[in-house]
Symmetry: C2
Subunit: 628 residues, 2 copies
C-alpha cells in the first residue's frame, strides 16, 4: 500500500496542496500527513481485521501467522471477527448517509407545515414525480403533497415489511436476486439496528450471514437513506443542471471575504449562500475594505452547492486543513461528516471563525450555532454577518493563495444527463451499442493519506476516458478530476476518439459530475434506468465503479450497495478484511455467483483501469455487442 507524507512519497499530485503543506511545515503546524506519519507503523491486527473489542472479555487478537491464538475469548475465529468488524463499518456508513437523509425529510415536513422560513419547494415537478412513486395522491395541493411525501419517507426508516420504495426503480431481475438471498432492504434504521445487534457478542457467528445483512444494510442506504437525501435536496434546492464553475484553492480571493462551506448537507450552506447575496452584507464587506463576498465549497457540502449554484470548489478531504493555512478564510462553516477535529486548532492559529451548525456534530474550539429547519434562514444570515465583520481581523501578511483556479463544468444530475441527450437514454445507449462509448464507470470516494492525494483518481480516470469509457464522478474524486482539468469540455482531447466525438457533439466533458457522496444514489439510479431501458439486469451493463482513495465507513457502505446492485467495484485501498481468507474470497469472488458483481482491490490505478477495461469489454461481449 502506498504511503504518503513524511514516509517518503509525495503528499499530493496537486500543486496547491504541496504549496500549502510546505507553508504548514514552515509555520510549525501539523496536518493530516504529519499525523499519518506519526502513526506509523499502524496496528497490523486492526489493519487485517484480526482484532476485536466488541466485548470486555476482550480485547482479542488473532495471529495472522497461525502461531498465536486463532480464537478470541468467546471462540470467534478470523472469519467471524473480520465479518463482524466489516459489518459494523457498513452499518455506520449506512447510518451516516441515512441520518443525513432524515434531516432533509424533517425539513421537507417543516416546509410543508410552513415552519421553515427561507426554505421552499424549488423543484415542484420533481416533487410531483417522487410523490407519485410513493403513492401520494397526484391532485393534492403542493404543500399537502410535500407533507404526505415527508410522512411516507419517514416510514422508510421504520418497521415496515416489504421493499424500500425506491427499489422499484430496479429491474425485476435484480429484486429477484435479492429475494433469493434474503437481502431486500426493509426500514433504514431497522437494518442498521439489526446489523449492530447481529454483531454483538454471541449473536450472528456465520460470516456469510453477517455479510448478507451488511449488504442489506448497505442497500437500505443506497436505495433508502442516500436516495432520499438526494431526491429531497433536489426538491428543496433545485435539481442540478449543467453550469460552469472552477476548482482548487485558487478560488479563494485575496481581496474578498471568503466563506468556506464544508461537510455534506446543503441545509445550512444553501441559507449561507442566500444570505451572502443580500445587498447590505455586500455593502458592509466593502465598508471593511473587501471587494466582495466569496463563497467556496469543500468536500461534499461543496459538491452540493457547486452542483446547484456553481459555487466554486476549494478542495477535497485532504485540503480541508490546508484551506485554513491560506490565512484568507474569514469563516469555515461545517455541518457533518469527514470534518477533521483538528480544524478548530488550525482556525485558532489564524483569524478564521470556525462555525459548527449541527446539534449532532460539535467540535473543539468551534462557535456552535445549531441548525433547525425553523431557524436555518436566520442562521445563514448570522454566519455571513459574523464572517464579514471578521474580515477586519485578517492579517494580509499571512495570506497565501497558491495557484490559479481551473475551469470545470458541473451539474449532471440524472435529469440533466437525460435532458442533454434529448430526453431519453437512447442516444447514450446507441453510443454504447455502436462502441463509440465502451461503457461508463463511477469513479468516486475520498482522499486517504495512504495514497498520494488525487493520484489514484486522476490516473485511473485519464486511463478510462482514453479507452472511450465515460466517467461519472462524485465526492472527493470529482474535485480531483476538476483540479486536473478533466471536467472541462476541452478535456475531450484526452479521451479516446469515440468518447471525444460524443463529448464534442454534446458540448460536455468526458467526466460528468453527479454530485456529493450521497449522490452516488444518482449513479445507481442511472444504471438502473439504463438496465430497464435495455431490458437487462444492472450486472449485465458495461459499467463499473471505483474508489481509488477511499477512507470512510460511508465509502465501504457505498461499495457494498454498488456491488449488491450489480456493479463491479474496484477499491484502491484494501478494507480491513485480509485476515480472513473466506471473507476476502467472498468479497473478491464469491458474491458474483449470486449478485453478478464483486469487489476487486488494486492499489495501482493503471492496473485498476486495465481490470475495468477488461470487465467492460466482457460485459459488452455478454450483451452481444462488439468487443475488443
Amino acid at each position: 500500500m502506498e504511503q504518503a507524507g513524511r514516509t517518503g512519497k509525495s503528499c499530493s499530485i496537486q500543486a496547491d496542496s504541496l504549496a500549502l503543506q510546505e507553508k504548514a511545515t514552515q509555520e510549525g503546524l501539523s496536518t493530516v500527513w504529519d499525523r499519518f506519519a506519526a502513526q506509523q507503523p499502524q496496528c497490523g491486527f486492526c489493519e487485517l481485521g484480526l482484532s476485536c473489542r466488541i466485548c470486555v472479555m476482550g480485547p482479542c487478537r488473532l495471529d495472522p501467522f497461525g502461531e498465536g491464538p486463532q480464537r478470541g475469548v468467546c471462540g470467534a475465529d478470523a472469519d467471524i471477527m473480520v465479518a463482524r468488524n466489516l459489518a459494523r463499518m457498513v452499518a455506520a456508513g449506512a447510518a451516516s448517509h441515512s441520518d443525513h437523509g432524515r434531516d432533509l425529510v424533517e425539513t421537507l415536513l417543516a416546509v410543508a407545515e410552513g415552519k421553515a422560513p427561507g426554505y421552499q419547494l424549488t423543484d415542484p415537478a420533481k416533487l410531483d414525480r417522487v410523490a407519485a412513486q410513493f403513492g401520494v395522491a397526484p391532485d393534492l395541493p403542493v404543500l399537502e403533497k410535500a407533507r404526505e411525501l415527508a410522512l411516507a419517507m419517514m416510514e422508510e426508516y421504520g418497521i415496515k415489511k416489504g421493499h424500500l420504495t425506491f427499489t422499484r426503480r430496479l429491474p425485476p431481475a435484480r429484486l429477484e436476486k435479492w429475494r433469493n438471498l434474503g437481502i431486500t432492504p426493509r426500514g433504514v434504521d431497522w437494518e442498521v439496528t439489526e446489523m449492530l445487534h447481529r454483531t454483538h457478542m454471541g449473536v450472528d457467528n456465520d460470516p456469510v450471514n453477517l455479510l448478507l445483512q451488511a449488504l442489506r444494510t448497505a442497500l437500505a442506504d443506497g436505495w433508502g437513506g442516500s436516495m432520499i437525501a438526494t431526491e429531497l435536496s433536489d426538491i428543496l434546492f433545485g435539481t442540478p443542471t449543467p453550469r460552469a464553475s472552477q476548482a482548487n484553492i485558487g478560488v479563494l480571493k485575496a481581496d474578498q471575504v471568503n466563506i468556506i462551506l464544508h461537510g455534506h448537507n446543503p441545509l445550512v450552506s444553501e441559507m449561507v449562500a442566500r444570505a451572502a447575496q443580500e445587498p447590505r452584507v455586500l455593502e458592509r464587506a466593502r465598508q471593511l475594505g473587501a471587494q466582495g463576498l466569496n463563497l467556496a465549497g469543500l468536500c461534499c457540502t461543496g459538491n452540493e452547492v457547486l452542483m446547484r449554484r456553481g459555487i466554486p470548489m476549494a478542495g477535497n478531504h485532504l485540503v480541508q486543513e490546508l484551506a485554513l493555512l491560506t490565512g484568507a478564510v474569514e469563516a469555515m462553516v461545517v455541518d457533518y461528516q469527514c470534518i477533521m477535529p483538528s480544524l478548530g486548532d488550525l482556525a485558532a492559529c489564524y483569524h478564521t471563525l470556525f462555525f459548527t451548525t449541527s446539534p449532532k456534530a460539535k467540535f473543539p474550539k468551534a462557535t456552535h450555532l445549531p441548525f433547525t429547519p425553523e431557524t436555518g434562514e436566520d442562521l445563514g444570515r448570522r454566519i455571513v454577518v459574523q464572517a464579514v465583520e471578521n474580515f477586519a481581523r485578517r492579517d494580509p501578511a499571512r495570506v497565501y493563495i497558491p495557484g490559479a483556479p481551473v475551469a470545470q463544468m458541473t451539474g449532471f444530475s440524472v435529469e440533466a444527463i437525460l435532458a442533454a441527450l434529448g430526453g431519453t437514454p437512447e442516444p447514450l445507449l446507441n453510443a454504447i451499442k455502436t462502441g463509440q462509448i465502451r461503457g461508463a464507470v463511477g469513479v468516486v470516494g475520498c482522499n486517504n493519506p495512504r495514497v498520494t492525494q488525487d493520484y489514484g483518481h486522476v490516473t485511473l480516470t485519464k486511463e478510462l476516458i482514453r479507452n472511450d469509457i465515460l466517467v461519472l464522478d462524485t465526492g472527493c474524486a470529482a474535485v480531483a478530476h476538476a483540479k486536473a482539468g478533466l471536467k472541462q469540455p476541452e478535456a475531450a482531447a484526452q479521451a479516446g476518439p469515440g468518447l471525444a466525438a460524443v463529448c464534442r457533439a454534446l458540448g460536455i466533458p468526458p467526466v460528468l459530475h453527479m454530485g456529493s457522496c450521497v449522490d452516488n444514489a444518482r449513479i445507481i439510479h442511472l444504471a438502473a434506468a439504463l438496465a430497464q431501458a435495455l431490458g437487462v439486469d444492472v450486472d449485465q451493463l458495461p459499467v463499473a465503479a471505483a474508489a481509488p482513495e477511499w477512507y470512510s465507513e460511508k465509502a465501504a457502505t457505498i461499495g457494498c450497495y454498488a456491488v449488491a446492485s450489480g456493479v463491479f467495484t474496484v477499491l484502491g485501498v484494501a478494507p480491513p478484511v485480509l485476515g480472513s481468507k473466506n471473507v476476502t474470497e467472498l468479497l473478491l469472488n464469491g458474491l458474483t455467483a449470486h449478485l453478478g458483481a464483486c469487489f476487486a482491490v488494486e492499489p495501482d490505478p493503471a492496473r485498476a483501469a486495465a481490470l475495468i477495461v477488461r470487465h467492460i469489454e466482457d460485459k459488452r461481449r455478454g450483451l452481444g455487442l462488439e468487443a475488443r
Copy 2:
C-alpha cells in the same frame, strides 16, 4: 483487575464449574478460560479506549504515557476517541435489546392477526394495562387491542417526535432533567442510527455531546426496547409469579433426555417447553430408555423460562460450554446474544445436537431451524422430537453431572412484588422509612473470565443483605446468587435483622429474582414506581445498581440507562475509557450534577459494597430518614 484461568487465580467459586473445567482439561478440550489465558497480554491501547479503527486512514493508537502520538490521523484526541468507542458500545447494546423487543412486537402482531399458532395472549389483564398506556381504546375486542398495541409499539422504533411512551412511568422531575440535557429518548432505531452516525469520522467530536447521545440511546433501550421486550413477553407468556425451582449443573438428569434452552428470547423456548409436555414425546423418550424429558435453562433464555415456568437453571454465561461437557445434553437450543461460537465445536465432541433458531444468529457446526411467529409452534415440536431421538446416541460412559441442585425461589415481577406486599408499595416504603430495610440494590450483569466466576456477585450480595439492603437481581448475577443459595427464603438467616424479619414475614428470600437482562426494565420500572409513590425523583431513593462481572455491550447500555434514570451504578470491570481523563471524570463524577447519579468502578466486591452502603445511607439522610 483480577484474572482467572491459567493466569493463576481460580476460574470460579462454583464447584460444578471447577469440576467440569477439570473434565475439559482431561479431555483436551478448550473453554473460555483457556482462550482468555491464551489472549494474555491483551492490547493495552484497546483496553484504555485509545485505539481507533473507525476509518481506514487509521487504525490509530494514542500513547497513554504522553510520549507517542496524542492525535489520530483525523486529529481526534484521547477524549474524542474514547467517547466514540464507548458510544458505539452503548449503541450496540441498545440495538441488541431493542431488536429482541422487535421480535416480540412482530409476534404480538402475528398473534393478533391469527397467524401465530401456539402463541396466545396469556395475560390479557396486562395487555389491558399496557394498551391503555399506549392510548389504545379500552373497549376493543382483545385481538384487536393486541393488534393496535403492536402497531403503536412499532411506532416507538421509528421517527417520532416526543418521548417514548414508557418514559411516562417516570417522575416529572426526571423527565425535566432529561429535557434540560436534551436526552429525552425518541424512536429506538433512530437513536441507535444517530449514535452510529455521530461516531463516524468527522461528525461529533465533542466528548460531552457524544456521551449525552450515548445516554439517550441507552434510555431508548431501557424505556423502549427492553421494556417493550419485558412487557410483551409477559402479555404473551404470562407475568411471572413466585415459584420454586433449582439451580446449577445438577439440574441435568443422568437418566432423562436433557434439553438446554440458551440465549435471551422466550419465543422459541416457550414452544419447546410446550412440546416437551406432549404425552407421545414422553412415551417415545421412555421407549428409548429415558426416565423422562428434562428441560434446563442457561443464561437469559433460562431466566425467562425460569421466571414463568420454574424450569430449572443450569448456569450462567461461563457455564454454557461446561454444560456440554456433562455429556448428558441431547440438545442445546439457542436463540441469540452471548452464545459462544465455540459451542458447535464442543457439541460435536459429544452426541449433542446444537440447534440455532434465529435467522439473525447462525453458528458454526449448528443445525439451523429458523423461527418465525407462523412456524414457532411446529419448530418447538421438531426440536423436541429430534432431541428425544438423540438420547439413543448418548454415551453413558462420558456422562458426568457434578453436584446436586440448589433450591431457589423465583418469579418476582413488579406485579408479583406488589402482590406479595398486599397490592401497594406502602409496606416496602414503610420498611425503608423505618430503616428495617435500608434500601434496595439491583445486582445484575454477566460473567467475565477477568473475574473469578460468581465471586463478584456473591460476595457483593452477601455483604449487601447483611447490611439490611434488599437485593434485586437479573441475568447471570441471578444464577450466581441462586447457586450460592441466596434465593431461598432460608437465606434470610444471612441477612441483617431488619431485612431478615421482613423476609420471614413475607416468606421471601432477601434476593429477589426479577428476570433476564432485558428485565432490568422491571427494576427501573419499580424504582420509578417507588419514586412516584414517595413524590421524589429516582436519584433521591436509597437505591443503587451493580454489575460486578459484566462483559457485554448490553451491560454497558444497561449501566448507562440506570445512571441516566438516576441510579448510582458500580461496575466491577472497568469499561475501556481510562485512556481519557475527561470521559472518566464525567462518568465517575460529572454526571451527578445533571442526573443525580454517576458510575463507580470497583473490582473488589467488598469495597463495592461499602461504597453502596455509604451511598444508600446518604440518600436516606437526604430524604430525612434515619441514617447510619
